[in-house]
Symmetry: D3
Subunit: 243 residues, 6 copies
């Protein structure tokens, strides 16, 4: 099997899509094909609740264009925007990059931590919704913007390094690096526990899921939609809802 | 104070908007003004995860048109679609109809139940996300469609009546009736515990919030967005993200 | 409807009752009547577990005098003393001032904090019992007595201000000010998130509940007592237990 | 050491006090002295929330009479009425009969069940408050009154027997028999798992605590009250609050 | 990379080891090498708590023989016996077959169920320990022994089929088949949701982990032992503890 | 009744067994007989996950020698190694020293803390597994080895004293001293809340359990094994599994 995996950004900044696609290609097994795509509309970068909600539509609109043409989808956005909706909508496996890193983290130690840029509240909710709260040692929000990451990578890496130290102190035995901007930073960091990159973890997990060949659920809240009416959506998305 | 409240549907079926607006007017105090609105695009009825995710954009698009012109917003959709995003985006109080009914239920007894049409999984997640799981006695999904409610109201009411019985048996001391289609059914039902209608609870809660006059948060994940870029969104929505 | 609301203190210090009644009148809608009452016996101020347990009797003894003559009851005591017992006993809605502030807090942000004077353990238990623990960002106990509040309001306000800062740092997006002594302090405080006063929240919530006109439960643990025998209680309280 | 243990009823039915005292004497080690007492005022039998709240005062009033004269106190009431308040107030160990049976149950198997007469909601809350919910397999409320127990012991025992079966089926590996009326029933019952009587467990646990000779806490919410003012309480109770 | 994976049984029945190895070979990607091994001592089949505790030693004794010679280890025992100990002890990734199936289940739907032969209590504890309880829809214990599976596969499959039905009814959107004896049964079963086999899931997850090449933790409770003394253990195991 | 209690070490350092036996004799009631024993094989001291898993076998091997000859067993190891397995295997009550101290702690205050030497993660898991997490105020790992305790008792006691202070600050109303090395330290420590020694608590709890005379469970996961086959185990242990 030579799976074709879609790296789907949920914001409209094509540069981030490219960064994630490159990381995905580095992580992919020989024979895995990586394609990448960016939504037609939505927020430039998802930083708040409203943007995350709006981006869900842009992402599903994008996925509808690729439905049936890919063997798996990795949501290349640290909020795992619209993960459950995408999973329901598509006929193939879908994983979120933060979800994937957390699932791998669960195999590395007792409890894990997560580092991101900015506020942590939405990540706390995301991990709680996944049910991972009992295994969460802590969340650290590094006070830096993506712009600062580009302007002063060493300075920001020092902040991340400090966050690693305090999470390990607090019992983290693996650490999820949340956000695309974290990806390039790993080689600047030293850690006594595994650092988990969502894109790499997501690609490997998708390869595993493609290998398992599980059937699409026909019951429950992840069964594909059928006969659902809508208006004002793209033909591809409306067609998927119709079933 | 004479608050102006927006009853905002999240699906595109104007008839449901009208039903909810009428219920809201019955519940409103003298002096409260009720306006109602329906999104420009999105699913006709929200019944699955994908539709709920898509509807979030349609709803926020709609709310952006009314931002600043209303004193409070009630999400007239039993999934409380995009509640946290709407709350962050708007300068006025926002409540969801299921959220409101649950908050009132918490003042009526020890644990409460919820009845809806169809599957209950998304409601279980919603209530868990709100943190209400410790007070939840049970969820009951009545196997009926909105169409059946219209065609055979007495037959469906009998099914709901049975669900009430089994939830009370399971310890529910108040029962939330989830979904607009439930609204008209209350007079056909007998229950030894309070039955809570989301529209009525939402209107009263919004009146209370308007009366309190709390300031908009300036910190945290519900502070208004500022300087957020986007593309392909309506001018009103893009402007709100810009701040 | 012109509801008559009882502000019921649970300790025997009439001055606190007056303070709370005044705050309730400021919060009440036009047409809402506020009456206030103080128990005949019990602790002067509730500061410990034993006092809280004893005060429950004094409070219910007091409520029995007013049963049937008021449309709603607000427990004007930050421990919400005997809330569930009062709710079971009376034919009208009953809310606790801390319960009310927490319910409103749930509509303001993701997680909330609570500030009180002295130890926080009893409040942690109270909020856990209500099921609010998943939404609690933190509890702060300001080391000051009610006497110090009167003697040095500015100094104590500075301590409260510091507690606000640390709760917001810890993720609180709304803050409940626990205790009557906190009430007058709000104008001395600056906060980037809503500060919630239990008396104001309680009055508005009771007005909402009176407006909803929900029936008294006839089943479950909040149904009115019937045929319960007792000795040594006031005639009014004994009569309520008899049903 | 020859401990003197007080069996303290929380309702005013002296016959129940006698039953519990007799059961305590059967369970006590040689050398343990059992004394028993009944409150001066309060509900005849605690069956509802309001009665439980009122009984707290009667119980603490009673305990104040014995403070300093006994080495340990067993609350002989299945609701463990005012347990934390009594524990704070008295200089000696205090345990509740249901608490004691649950603590012993935790040493007998993975999860345990509880059987009582009437509604189970207050017991669910009690066990949740104790933190035992993760170890609770189920609660069973046998539909019988204490009067029926006396009138038809065999018939009621058959109902209890059925409840045992369904709890074991649900995973209970030990079963707490809640309520004094259960006590005499044990010999009529057959169970494949240990049946735990609160009076016997409480007496043995108190003997253990007396043997350990732990100091009274001087910090936290269980430190003895000091300098607390009150009015209208018995001299002994007021004196304990004064410290 | 061509990983060499050890399928490690924790009981001493070599026939089960062979069954699991064959299943692993069917699931493995081309290039993955599967080796299998059986402990020298311990229970024939793990069916109780005591056997599971004893088997931990036999398993670690076995793993010590292979430490350094394999790239990953799959515990081929549905209790995931000594998973955390093995993970700490070995320099390579270790996963348990039930753990692996559950991790994959988390990517398939909202909540999942688990079916096993015999009692479910130990599995409930295992999944709770992993932190998966919030995502667990239910556990079903099919009343059949491994012997019955061999003697009457169709009859037992009918029981499993019924369990699938009741778990799906209870909200399971994916189902873990627990135990080696379940493995061959999948083709006899029909299910509207994915059925997850622990051996297949474990092999794919190990391939993913080997591909990620994460470093061994040097801090926390999963860091390799160093300088630990022992007596009476096999030279290989004692040497690993010495570090 | 004159119970004979076995103090069973789970590591192979006889000196620790002796220390624990001496502490048990000091705590025992007149008439209680204390015997002590050390496993034939296993780790010298249990400090890591792998050692704890291996020690389970050594401990059960040891207990099998004493099965039927003692009235109760106290696991004299702070990890309560193989507690559930031992409880299933033996015909008499079994308690773990940390379990016992925690159970007593639950009767002393609202929430308790635990102090140990080294890392706390395994203790956090243990207490979570017992279901005590809701009552846990905090865990403190004092950075000292057993060797340092012997070399510099006053210095280490100062560290423990500091840990007591910070746990009390964090809300601990009782403190469990975890580990045999803690035992002798109590007289060097001052605390405003009870300090609980696992050996003393375990002996008193076992005396209580022996006094209750509860039957061995015949159903559930703690029923004695029957007909279980094994190889390579000691005759006594193999015989117990056979039943």
């Amino acid at each position: 099997m030579r799976p074709r995996l879609l790296i789907a950004n949920a914001n409209t900044t094509a540069g981030i899509t490219e960064l994630c696609a490159a990381a995905a290609r580095r992580a992919a097994s020989p024979g895995t094909e990586i394609v990448a795509a960016t939504p037609r509309f939505g927020p430039a970068v998802i930083g708040t609740r409203a943007e995350n909600a709006i981006a869900a539509h842009g992402l599903l609109d994008l996925l509808a264009e690729h439905a049936g043409a890919v063997d798996g989808v990795l949501l290349a956005v640290s909020h795992d925007t619209a993960l459950d909706a995408a999973r329901q909508l598509l006929p193939c496996p879908v994983v979120g990059m933060t979800e994937a890193a957390c699932l791998i983290a669960l195999t590395q130690g007792a409890r894990f931590g997560l580092i991101t840029f900015g506020g942590v509240e939405m990540y706390r909710e995301l991990l709680t919704r996944y049910g991972f709260a009992p295994r969460l040692a802590g969340l650290a929000g590094v006070p830096a913007t993506p712009e600062q990451v580009l302007a002063d990578p060493a300075g920001v890496a020092a902040l991340v390094q400090r966050a690693i130290g305090s999470l390990v102190e607090g019992g983290a035995e693996a650490i999820v690096l949340g956000g695309a901007a974290m990806a390039g930073m790993a080689e600047r960091l030293a850690a006594p526990v595994p650092l988990l990159d969502g894109i790499a973890c997501g690609v490997k997990l998708l390869e595993a899921l493609c290998g398992l060949g599980l059937p699409k659920p026909m019951a429950g809240s992840h069964a594909a939609p059928r006969g659902r009416e809508s208006c004002g959506l793209s033909p591809a998305l409306a067609a998927l809802l119709k079933g």
